[in-house]
């Protein structure tokens, strides 16, 4: 039997797990902060992923295959899931055409958060806006304009009966996603009178059935009538500035783009996309699908930049209405829940489905009382989200919790809700959801962070405590050391106070691993491993890994 195990099963397990063996946990070279993904490439082909097929593709067959993937289960059970590949030796995401470290590593002021990606103040109001394109295919009315400065914007209106809902949600989320580090369009709230608009001579209109024809004043009136006025004779809309570059279609949350040589990491293995689930859950961005992304080719540099677009279905908005009770709690077609309900003969209820909390039409439905970060679901499975590990989740949570109440208030203020009570409610919802997010992830991975060498000590902070999620009472910390290169003796565990730090005076030459753990009243956290290199008198952190 033992021989069988040695010869048969063990090699298979090793082979399966071998697929997840990552690189060495530390690197003596300075940590990488910029990805080399801005090489000049030929203009990639434009692609248009089918909206409906994307739903089918992600909902059915791949989910079946995922359920049958024994190697995946083995890796998860043995604590060796495929870790993200766009991170550096300090377990941080590298800046790239996908992501730029902003608020967590380089704290932004509330003013900077409120400004977000905006480089101006929106459409130029010194003259009329020329309507260049209209479309009647969507549920939310809208059209394209060119302002006197020649800049193109897409104007989108709020759904009837819910003034300010989707425009506010879109702007607020844009600011927060930008501060979190993602590439997003410049979105503005605008209000204008009818005489601000004129239909351009070259304007085209697409009817419900796809017929393109010259746009008329009647077409514009139809859209405006559908939109309805906001205050008096003014219309309120979201103005989304056309992204810079040449549009090349959506990116997928799985695989790589074949015609982009800079795209070296499978998208489902990017932490910036995996941990987007954490931010999306916080902001209730249920519509995180391929169709709401955009690759833009930058002619100056000759590379693609990857954007998240269309945040109309975030917070309490579902784009063309307020969110229903189930949104965020189950997928549009939820294989697991349907099977559960089928096999339990309807005895288990979907309590969330029957709840409806719409206190302010301009906020829609954004609950926090029953928000469970781990159970949150987008409209349909996102392959990058499904690869989320605890480390990725922790990374996302530390970004989410880096937004203080003032930061959130500043972002919410940019949504220009006319009712102060609605604005206060939205701030509270985001603060409560943020805290729930932090408490969830900071229990799965030790929330010890911001490691720094000060003199001969390794200092760190407990994010759960510094962010007010835990009081610190009944908690303690300990560390242990082990020589890694060269292999050396182990020491500890010893208690340690974060404010005092781990003493490093007796650290030998070479690389030593310092394992830090946090103790809650009833359990120890998994360790955070900090690799410290002593080169003579010089000490340097050369690696951080977090166990989960």
């Amino acid at each position: 039997m033992a021989r069988f195990l040695r010869l048969g099963v063990l090699p298979i397990v090793v082979w399966v797990l071998g697929g997840c063996a990552g690189a060495r946990s530390y690197n003596l070279r300075p940590p990488l902060w910029e990805a080399a993904d801005r090489d000049s490439i030929p203009l990639p082909q434009e692609r248009d992923v089918s909206e409906y097929y994307d739903f089918f593709e992600n909902t059915f067959l791949p989910q079946l295959e995922r359920g049958l993937s024994l190697p995946r289960y083995l890796r998860r059970w043995t604590g060796h899931p495929h870790q993200s590949r766009d991170v550096n030796s300090l377990d941080e995401v590298v800046n790239s055409t996908w992501y730029t470290n902003r608020h967590y590593l380089l704290p932004m002021t509330p003013g900077e958060i409120a400004r977000g990606p905006n480089t101006g103040i929106g459409p130029d109001t010194s003259g009329v806006w020329t309507v260049t394109r209209g479309d009647k295919k969507g549920v939310t009315p809208g059209f394209w304009i060119r302002d006197p400065a020649g800049q193109i914007y897409i104007l989108k209106f709020d759904p009837p009966g819910y003034p300010e809902l989707s425009s506010a949600a879109e702007v607020v989320s844009t600011k927060l996603f930008y501060a979190a580090g993602y590439n997003v369009p410049e979105n503005f709230i605008v209000s204008f009178r009818r005489d601000r608009l004129q239909v351009g001579e070259e304007a085209r209109f697409t009817t419900e059935v796809g017929v393109r024809r010259p746009m008329t004043g009647a077409d514009l009136e139809g859209i405006l009538e559908q939109a309805g006025t906001w205050q008096g004779d003014r219309y309120r809309a979201l103005a989304s500035k056309f992204l810079p570059g040449v549009p090349r279609g959506q990116f997928s949350y799985v695989g790589r783009r074949g015609d982009d040589p800079n795209d070296l990491i499978p998208h489902e293995d990017r932490r910036s996309l995996r941990a987007l689930r954490v931010l999306a859950a916080w902001l209730n961005h249920v519509d995180t699908r391929t169709h709401n992304t955009m690759d833009m080719y930058q002619p100056q540099g000759g590379y693609l930049v990857h954007y998240l677009i269309d945040f109309g279905s975030t917070l309490g908005s579902s784009g063309d209405r307020a969110k229903f009770g189930w949104e965020g709690y189950e997928a549009q077609w939820d294989n697991g829940l349907i099977l559960r309900d089928l096999l339990t003969f309807g005895f288990l209820s979907r309590a969330w489905d029957e709840r409806k909390v719409i206190r302010y039409p301009s906020v829609g439905q954004l609950r926090w009382e029953d928000f469970e970060p781990g159970a949150w679901k987008p409209y349909y499975p996102n392959p990058a989200f499904q690869n989320l590990t605890s480390r990725d989740g922790y990374w996302g949570a530390k970004i989410v919790t880096s937004f203080g109440e003032e930061d959130i208030r500043a972002a919410v203020a940019s949504g220009q809700l006319s009712d102060p009570a609605a604005e206060a409610y939205l701030v509270r919802a985001l603060v409560e959801r943020r805290d729930r997010m932090g408490r969830y992830w900071f229990r799965r991975v030790a929330p010890l962070d911001r490691f720094a060498l000060e003199g001969d000590r390794l200092r760190f902070v407990d994010l759960a405590v510094t962010r007010g999620l835990e009081s610190g009472e009944g908690q303690s910390y300990q560390y242990a050391t082990a020589g890694v290169d060269p292999q050396g003796p182990t020491g500890g565990p010893h208690p340690v106070d974060p404010q005092v730090g781990v003493p490093l005076v007796e650290l030998p030459e070479g690389v030593t691993r310092v394992d830090l753990r946090k103790r809650w009243p009833r359990q120890w956290s998994p360790p955070v491993r900090v690799f410290i290199w002593r080169d003579g008198e010089r000490l340097r952190i050369v690696g951080i890994t977090r166990e989960d």
Partner: protein
């Protein structure tokens, strides 16, 4: 050989989107290879679906269909699948309703339908005020063709192996007067019904004339014409007629068939049905019960043509039996359905049915001699909240049926 290699390549390489996107095979891909071989037909289907959906989106076909359907609906034209009765096979019907075109107390409805089995249905109806408040008088005329009607012989002892088929053609005309009385609705009418019987069109089974030509089956090969006065009383106490959660529905009906053509065909028919809906704590979790009986008053032996006998065995009655498996003068049926929601737009159902046919229901009914059917399935709900499509499996000691049917069972 080349085709084999091509198929193998299709299985090995583009079995995941990631592979299509330029990623190489991984440990997981290799492990999943056997499953992917097994799922290969699904993958091919998915690829076809992708092309189809992409084409439809590129050409805005979904928008066009929706727009066209909305346009037609707004102009009183309703297209819907099914609607030709059990056994018709894939088909659809078209209704043109004047009420959507103009407001008038007189309402005209023109209907037509056809299926791949050449079942056909045409009808024109004109409704007008019936004199009393909310009462309506409807006059109508129509034609119906059923090309593959089943016949297994008469009585509960007929054998499944005796299956045969025939074509039934019916022309009808008449008038009905209906009036609501609170939760009650009363109907009185007179119909002219003309039947012709021809050879069945299912080549896989013998024609009824060939199979039963040597046995005394009333009406075999004989056309008949009847004048049918009828009366019906319905009590409707359901909370929602589209998808009831609670309440009661009951109906009694009487018809008299006076033969105008054919030798001595004359009989009366009485029917009663009660449906109850018991809510079980949640919306759409319901125990639905139904009891139904039909009794024929044959004025003389052989006075009822076999194609007008009460029948059991269909997508709504004894779903584990073949269509029209049982025929006799009387019939009784009991159904229990446990319905529960599994999705916003889908319910699941478990059902148990018991019933049989009798020469005389009151003399022969015996709980120990009921044919049983049981099964379950799912029901897709439409925009109006009602059942749009049923996908069910019905089983009985005789066979198992897979059922795809538009509309609610009861």
């Amino acid at each position: 050989m080349r085709m084999g290699r091509f198929l193998l390549l299709l299985i090995l390489l583009p079995t995941s989107v990631r592979a299509q996107e330029g990623g190489g095979p991984t440990v997981d891909d290799l492990f999943l290879l056997p499953f992917r071989v097994a799922f290969f037909p699904l993958r091919i289907f998915a690829l076809g679906l992708k092309e189809g959906i992409t084409f439809a989106e590129d050409h805005r076909l979904f928008n066009r269909v929706h727009y066209a359907a909305t346009f037609l609906h707004d102009h009183g034209v309703f297209l819907r699948p099914g609607g030709l009765g059990d056994g018709a096979g894939p088909g659809g019907r078209l209704d043109i309703d004047s009420a959507a075109l103009f407001s008038s107390p007189v309402r005209a409805v023109l209907s037509a339908g056809a299926s791949f089995r050449n079942y056909q249905f045409y009808q024109i109806g004109v409704g007008l005020p019936g004199g009393l408040a909310n009462s309506r008088l409807t006059v109508f005329g129509g034609y119906r063709l059923k090309t593959e009607e089943n016949f297994f012989g008469l009585g509960s002892r007929s054998q499944p192996g005796d299956r045969s088929d025939f074509t039934l053609e019916e022309s009808s005309a008449g008038g009905q007067w209906t009036t609501p009385l609170g939760p009650l609705r009363f109907l009185a009418g007179l119909r002219y019904r003309d039947f012709n019987i021809r050879r069945g069109q299912d080549d896989g089974i013998p024609d009824t004339q060939d199979r039963f030509g040597g046995t005394p089956v009333p009406g075999l090969g004989i056309g008949t014409t009847f004048l049918v006065p009828e009366a019906e009383l319905v009590l409707d106490l359901r909370d929602d007629p589209v998808l009831p959660n609670r309440g009661l529905w009951a109906m009694i009906r009487a018809e008299n068939y006076d033969g105008l053509r054919g030798r001595g065909f004359e009989f009366g028919r009485f029917g009663a049905e009660v449906r109850g809906y018991l809510p079980l704590g949640r919306p759409r979790r319901v125990l639905a019960l139904r009891a139904r009986a039909e009794v024929t008053d044959a004025r003389a032996p052989g006075s009822v043509p076999f194609y007008l006998f009460p029948r059991l065995g269909s997508h709504d009655t004894l779903r584990g039996l073949r269509r029209d498996r049982l025929r006799d003068l009387d019939a009784a049926l009991l159904t229990a359905e446990y319905r529960y929601p599994i999705w916003r737009h889908m319910d699941a159902v478990l059902f148990l049915e018991a019933g049989n046919v009798y020469g005389d229901l009151f003399d022969e009914f015996d709980l120990d001699h009921l044919e049983l059917s049981y099964g379950g399935g799912v029901r897709i709900l439409g925009r109006d909240g009602g059942v749009m499509l049923r996908l069910e499996i019905g089983a009985s000691p005789e066979r198992t049926n897979f059922i795809l049917k538009f509309g609610e069972s009861f």
